[in-house]
């Protein structure tokens, strides 16, 4: 059976890793390629690069980062952030990315999911969903711009549409759990996992090793993503995997 995946996420701006990174043995802790190679060695199953560059130059730099990363690491990686055209996808996939993450652009233009899936295959298209509980609805709403803007779209409905249009995977971030370190949003993750038949990557809220166990078992997630806790060495990927193994969850 498939192993549950542990995925560190790197925020990259103008070709440099942002959000403080606390690796002591790196020559250059801001170099995304070196950091990616380190996570590869430490047992990450996959990586996500989130490009938060705001300029055209910054985006062009990302293509270079992808090219260099593809030559250095031996695990698959996804690139997301600001991708709004099939041509952007093509450029990044050509440079060596395995998957493309799309978020806001897909909400504005859902056809982007269909076009990308048809052109490159569903396995290349990851739809990222930022969801927050809407108490009036009694279910989750999609938010954009780091949780500031509500869209009025129901997350579960959108998850199903993304799948129908050919998404190969969902990267599901709970805006309620993100940054709390109190654990993943198990309820949200489970609701989405039970609804769709494509893999779900849970994101937001990881603070202790056992949180991964919770989201894989109760939350039915296929993968768990985290950033800060790995960057700041609050836990290592190996510690997470050891805990999962001990509890009988298959990991690599």
């Amino acid at each position: 059976m498939l192993a549950k995946r542990i995925i560190p996420c790197l925020d990259v701006k103008d070709g440099r890793v942002v959000k403080g990174v606390n690796f002591v043995n790196l020559r250059d802790a801001g170099d995304p390629v070196e950091l990616a190679a380190t996570y590869d060695r430490e047992g990450a199953d996959e990586l996500v690069f989130l490009d938060i560059s705001a300029s055209v130059e910054g985006r062009a730099t990302m293509v270079e980062v992808v090219k260099r990363t593809a030559g250095e690491i031996t695990i698959p990686f996804t690139v997301g952030g600001g991708i709004s055209h099939v041509d952007d996808m093509k450029r990044l996939l050509r440079a060596g990315a395995d998957k493309i993450g799309i978020n806001t652009a897909a909400i504005r233009n859902p056809q982007l999911i269909s076009d990308g899936a048809r052109k490159f295959g569903s396995q290349c298209i990851v739809v990222a969903i930022d969801a927050k509980f809407n108490p009036e609805w009694g279910e989750w709403e999609i938010f954009t711009h780091g949780g500031r803007n509500g869209t009025g779209i129901r997350a579960l409905e959108w998850a199903r549409e993304a799948e129908r249009r050919g998404a190969g995977e969902l990267l599901l971030t709970s805006m309620d759990a993100d940054g709390t370190k109190d654990g993943f949003d198990v309820k949200l993750t489970r609701a989405v996992s039970e609804l769709v038949s494509i893999p779900v990557i849970a994101s937001g809220g990881a603070g202790r090793v056992e949180h991964f166990h919770d989201v894989f078992t109760e939350g039915k997630a296929d993968a768990g993503l985290a950033a800060t806790i790995f960057h700041y060495k609050e836990m290592t990927i190996q510690e997470v995997k050891d805990d999962l193994k001990r509890k009988g969850v298959e990991v690599r």
């Binding site: 498939l2 192993a3 060596g96 038949s197």
Partner: protein
């Protein structure tokens, strides 16, 4: 020199870089003479079986690949490249493959997630120079169709995904890996190294 056969399907960059990291020179090429002169050839591939065979036929690389296999030098098909080694596929209609190994490519069918995507644990079924001295571990798969080899003797390793799934095949100098060794961490690199090592035994 290791030839990565370029027939317009998929990402050749990662495969070529992985081979280079193992200390071999590579050439990504669609040139018949260059391919036939190489010490080993790799047939990669991502995409649909029918399109891939069309591309191989149009460029004449189908006969070059068969000629290479007949030369006795090591050849490796990766992912779709492995499936192409077989007789036929049912992916979007019936298609004839290279026919270097007998067997067919069939769709995953059942109440489970397709594509089979992620890390799965290999079981080695017989001894092979590819994984001599290696321990069984996880490698990375992405595929919606899988190979049913006709002869058990061609099946070197499998994984379990609601059924036994063909992971490594081999007969003589012709090998195939359904997973992506270039995306499969340390074990993937060791398996690729095992294949490339065959070029040394030959000399």
């Amino acid at each position: 020199m290791i030839a990565i056969i370029d027939y317009g399907m998929g990402n050749l960059h990662s495969v070529s870089k992985a081979v280079e990291r193992l200390g071999y020179e590579t050439v990504v090429t669609s040139d018949a003479a260059e391919i036939l002169a190489a010490d080993a050839a790799i047939l990669p591939g991502v995409g649909a079986f029918g399109d891939a065979m069309d591309n191989l036929r149009e460029t004449g690389l189908d006969s070059v690949t068969k000629q290479y296999a007949a030369s006795g030098k090591p050849m490796l098909g990766i992912c779709l490249g492995m499936q192409l080694l077989f007789s036929e596929s049912e992916e979007y209609g019936a298609h004839t493959g290279l026919g270097l190994l007998p067997g067919s490519v069939v769709r995953f069918q059942g109440d489970y997630k397709v594509p089979h995507m992620g890390w799965n644990k290999l079981s080695f079924l017989q001894s092979s120079p590819l994984f001599e001295g290696l321990e069984e571990g996880h490698v990375y798969f992405v595929h919606s169709f899988h190979v049913k080899p006709e002869l058990p003797s061609d099946l070197l390793a499998s994984v379990d995904y609601y059924q036994p799934v063909t992971a490594i095949v081999g007969r003589g100098n012709v090998y195939g890996m359904q997973f992506h060794p270039e995306k499969s961490g340390d074990l993937g690199m060791r398996l690729l190294e095992g294949f490339l090592g065959l070029t040394k035994q030959q000399q």
